[in-house]
Symmetry: C2
Subunit: 235 residues, 2 copies
């Protein structure tokens, strides 16, 4: 018995095709009627999937013409390294887990408010560093509520997107969030992870990411060395 709603199967299929380049910017997706046939569903189901792709910026719909693929989805909450796809080969962009996911209590002085279920469930804590051409440029500390994430602590996060993992394995989507952004001088820990000296200006983001799962937010504390590569976000 497949518990995944049909509209979501259609959505994931189309989204994957767009991400894989089956459809490129400017292409027109198969019509709603064609998608009904291909997926063996009805138009409202297909339209719900297309609504989601529209909201996330993957496509733009034109009455009478079709659904046009856009090059840049609105990556809610997604940050990347500016120029990643064109300037840096994928093999020179590496994500390394420096502290593996581990269940912990929330820090007493955690700067974001927590829901009661979150507070009671503790958190999964891990740290990652992202390197470009061997040079560390991101240092990220993540906290997830320890809520219904079976075997999360055993998953390999190296070179994997946390957002994709949450969505594909746990059906948790990032739906929005908030962030505080600062320019700071690096602490000793950050200096060590990013391999910078004390005078380097460091970009610091404190982020709370809301999700499709109730009472479940993802928290991220990010430090970036942006001398060579800016941090890029779309919204």
């Amino acid at each position: 018995m497949n518990a995944t709603p049909q509209y979501r199967l259609v959505y994931e299929s189309l989204r994957k095709h767009i991400e894989q380049g089956v459809y490129s910017e400017g292409d027109i997706l198969p019509s709603e009627n064609e998608l009904c046939i291909v997926h063996n569903v009805t138009r409202p189901t297909v339209r719900k999937a297309l609504d989601m792709l529209t909201n996330e910026g993957f496509i733009k719909r034109r009455q009478g013409l079709g659904s046009l693929v856009q090059s840049k989805p609105r990556g809610i909450g997604i940050l990347s390294i500016a120029g990643t796809t064109s300037v840096i080969g994928r093999e020179n962009l590496v994500t390394r887990v420096v502290v593996k996911p581990v269940v912990k209590r929330w820090p007493a002085d955690f700067p974001f408010g927590l829901t009661k279920p979150e507070r009671e469930s503790g958190c999964i804590y891990f740290e990652r560093v992202r390197l470009v051409n061997g040079q560390p440029i991101f240092y990220d500390i993540s906290y997830l509520p320890n809520m219904n994430l079976p075997r999360f602590t055993r998953r390999k996060l190296d070179n994997h997107s946390l957002f994709n993992l949450l969505r594909e394995v746990y059906h948790i989507k990032i739906t929005g969030g908030e962030q505080n952004i600062k320019a700071i001088h690096a602490s000793t820990t950050v200096q060590n992870h990013l391999d910078v000296d004390p005078s380097t200006p460091i970009l610091h983001l404190e982020r709370k990411l809301e999700t499709s799962r109730i009472y479940f937010n993802v928290f991220s504390f990010l430090y970036c060395d942006t001398r060579e590569h800016a941090l890029f976000g779309s919204f």
Copy 2:
């Protein structure tokens, strides 16, 4: 004959009630069935309106329980000073225009791509500084395409939101965008405007904001002194 779709009338009505405080955070909206009766429409129409409110962060739906009002809608592209509403009185937050809006040609080395209509129309350029308790913390350089913005250069921007002005006067809404974020050392100009010394780390954002008007993007180059106040964004 009313050209506005019914789902949008329902959406605007509910959104206005939430914004006006008829419903507060944590309140449960009338059920879908009740909204059908009130607005004389059917469930799919109501659900489309609720979908939109959900996507924009106004409400969160709970199967079996109802639609819960959330306090913070997703403010696309809006940045503010962290803690503004609770920590700083409105009278201590001042926006000052340091270069009034003037029509210019686009800089030859403008870092964002421009649409052909934008390139051909030139731009409206202005600079603003935002101060908290008399202390400058934001320095913003803005470029708008000089396209169908009657009398823009004569408008007073002190203590006015550019987004609100665009939406209310010119019916232009920010619909999304992208940004590069960096931590830098301040140039001399930035040092002067923000009243900082050369060692202060400065937050720098280069932003392209997409709008509801075709071929019309808003560009912003922002420098922030974040020692006292982080930059806050929700998405």
